[in-house]
């Protein structure tokens, strides 16, 4: 198993894609962090009525800081999902799955090794992504709002959970890639789901009484539960799950796709 993990590490690090995507993610989150911080800072200077008519969420102080820093996952989760998925889809796209399965014919070990490597890289991706948001948002909050609150324990706890959530997204990405295997299909599904399906579903499900409970089990809502805060929640969405329940829901998604990778994809003939 440790040999398989070392092999997967080398695979991951020997292509350029992960750091190109990592840099893009960082830049994207710096920009969005700054924009959101500006909007919160701007909102807090208005009266409640003005803010509502301008469509700006009105928050101030530590709430504004926490809310801004928590945007890493809801706005940036497409990146760890795609980076993770590449760990599997590259193997199928470039047929390296053949030599990979020759050196490690035990399919379960292969899937587990990829999940472990994704978790470890996921932490790095999570640090990079969360740092991006903080780097973008904190100067704006400090200069225009009520402060960056980087001395607050609650803010640092949130930042820690943000790293955890981004790592979980990376692991889920690997599992999705393992089930879908086709690189283009996996990327389209991930972008489509994260950018359109889930945001719409969370709002739509939240609007229907009978389905309100369901929306909390969507992956993004589960991730918000782990963070303990929700950008969507601030826009009038229903209650989130508890932190541990949200974590379990994310792990359940990972398990379902990973089992699919192991027992659907890797039971098929290769070649």
């Amino acid at each position: 198993m440790s040999a398989a993990i070392r092999g997967e590490f080398r695979k991951f690090l020997s292509t350029r894609m992960w750091w190109i995507l990592g840099l893009a993610m960082f830049a994207y989150l710096v920009f969005l962090g700054a924009v959101m911080a500006f909007s919160f800072a701007f909102g807090s200077t208005m009266s409640a009525g003005e803010a509502a008519s301008a469509g700006v969420p009105q928050m101030s102080g530590e709430t504004a800081a926490t809310m801004t820093y928590s945007l890493t996952s809801p706005l940036g989760y497409v990146f760890p999902l795609i980076i993770g998925s590449l760990l599997f889809t590259n193997e199928f796209r470039h047929q390296t799955i053949t030599p990979t399965l020759l050196v490690e014919p035990r399919r379960t070990i292969l899937v587990l090794a990829k999940l472990v490597v994704a978790a470890i890289f996921g932490v790095i991706i999570g640090v990079l992504a969360t740092a991006g948001t903080v780097v973008g948002a904190s100067p704006v909050l400090a200069l225009m709002g009520d402060g960056s609150y980087l001395g607050s324990g609650d803010v640092w706890a949130l930042i820690g959970w943000s790293v955890v959530v981004m790592a979980l997204w990376t692991v889920l990405g690997v599992a999705i890639g393992g089930l879908l295997t086709n690189q283009v299909a996996a990327i389209i599904v991930i972008i489509g789901f994260t950018q359109f399906v889930e945001p719409i579903a969370r709002v739509a499900l939240g609007a229907v009484d009978a389905l309100q409970g369901v929306s909390a089990y969507l992956p993004g809502a589960a991730a918000d539960a782990v963070l303990g805060t929700s950008f969507f929640g601030s826009m009038g969405e229903t209650d989130l799950l508890s932190r541990w329940a949200g974590g379990l829901v994310m792990l359940a998604y990972i398990a379902v796709f990973a089992l699919g990778a192991r027992f659907v994809t890797l039971r098929r003939d290769i070649g």
Binding site: A3, R6, H94, L102, V103
Partner: protein
């Protein structure tokens, strides 16, 4: 190297829907020899190799490395080294990185990767991206991958594809050295001539079925030369055949077919005997013709 191990294909079949890609195939490959696994494209060679390596699940039958299926080998990468397609590389990775990422599971150090890259002639190119490699360079890298664990069994699918003539000579020497070390070497090809100076044994399949399994020298005995002779005096040709003890077969068109003899001998003897010849041509079946006949492809008709 691990202990020598034979390869046994035992009543192996693979059906894709109604298509019998491999159909009740059995043969063995012995250690210490180079075996050519031959057949036209689509004969089922690659599917057979993939079943042998645990990548494709057989419909029935089994394939063994030594005594166990590939999936049950304790150290698969140190027992079997295989290269199935010379295109199985991420184009953005360097040749060195391609080997390095398998080294931990094969159980070798990084220095082994460098050694092998030097051995296959990629020392200068090892830090370059594989995307810029020629087909021949990819074949060499695939070969280095197969050799990583110094395996007892080496399986190569069409390894000569894309190699230049010097590369083919080099490959031939390498395979010979493997066999001399006691390795089991199985090399597939769709062209007999590509491997006929390399292999000791041949396994020939067509349409998923075994059509021939023997040593190369036994295959050669199936190749029988014969000569067509046209002479204004066919009677004298038949007399000459009698004195030379050639098997002769007069045809109704006046041509005499002489078996187990080649044109230069017939020409020389006819000249010595003062026999006028109007045509003298080799029409016998060469090794390649035997291969084509066995695999059911139409043999080339000699132009009349």
């Amino acid at each position: 190297m691990t202990a020598p191990a034979a390869v046994t294909i035992d009543r192996l079949s693979k059906h894709f829907g109604p298509v019998k890609a491999v159909d009740d195939l059995s043969f063995t490959v012995r250690p210490g020899a180079v075996t050519g696994f031959l057949g036209p494209n689509g004969a089922g060679k690659t599917t057979t190799l993939r079943m042998l390596l645990g990548l494709v699940r057989p419909t029935s039958g089994r394939a063994l490395i030594g005594d166990s299926p590939y999936l049950e080998l304790r150290q698969p990468a140190q027992t079997v080294g295989a290269s199935l397609e010379a295109s199985a590389f991420h184009p953005g990775r360097s040749g060195l990185d391609h080997l390095r990422m398998f080294a931990p599971q094969v159980g070798v150090r990084e220095s082994r990767c460098h050694e092998l890259l030097e051995l296959v002639g990629l020392d200068q190119a090892k830090k370059r991206r594989v995307g810029g490699y020629s087909m021949g360079m990819r074949q060499r890298l695939a070969l280095a991958y197969a050799m990583l664990g110094d395996p007892a069994v080496v399986i190569l699918d069409e390894p000569a594809n894309g190699l230049d003539p010097q590369g083919i000579v080099w490959l031939r020497q390498l395979l010979r050295a493997f066999a001399d070390e006691g390795k089991t070497v199985l090399v597939s090809s769709h062209v007999l001539s590509e491997v006929q100076s390399t292999v000791d044994d041949v396994v020939i399949i067509a349409k998923g079925r075994l059509v021939h399994e023997s040593s190369l020298s036994d295959l050669r005995t199936l190749a029988a030369p014969s000569v067509e002779v046209l002479s204004p005096t066919p009677q004298r040709v038949l007399e000459l055949a009698g004195t030379q003890q050639w098997r002769a077969e007069p045809r109704h068109d006046g041509v005499v077919v002489l078996h187990d003899v080649e044109a230069p001998q017939v020409g020389a003897a006819a000249f010595a005997a003062n026999i006028e010849l109007h045509r003298l041509s080799d029409v016998g079946v060469g090794l390649e013709d035997v291969f084509l006949r066995l695999t059911g492809e139409p043999t080339q008709e000699v132009a009349q």
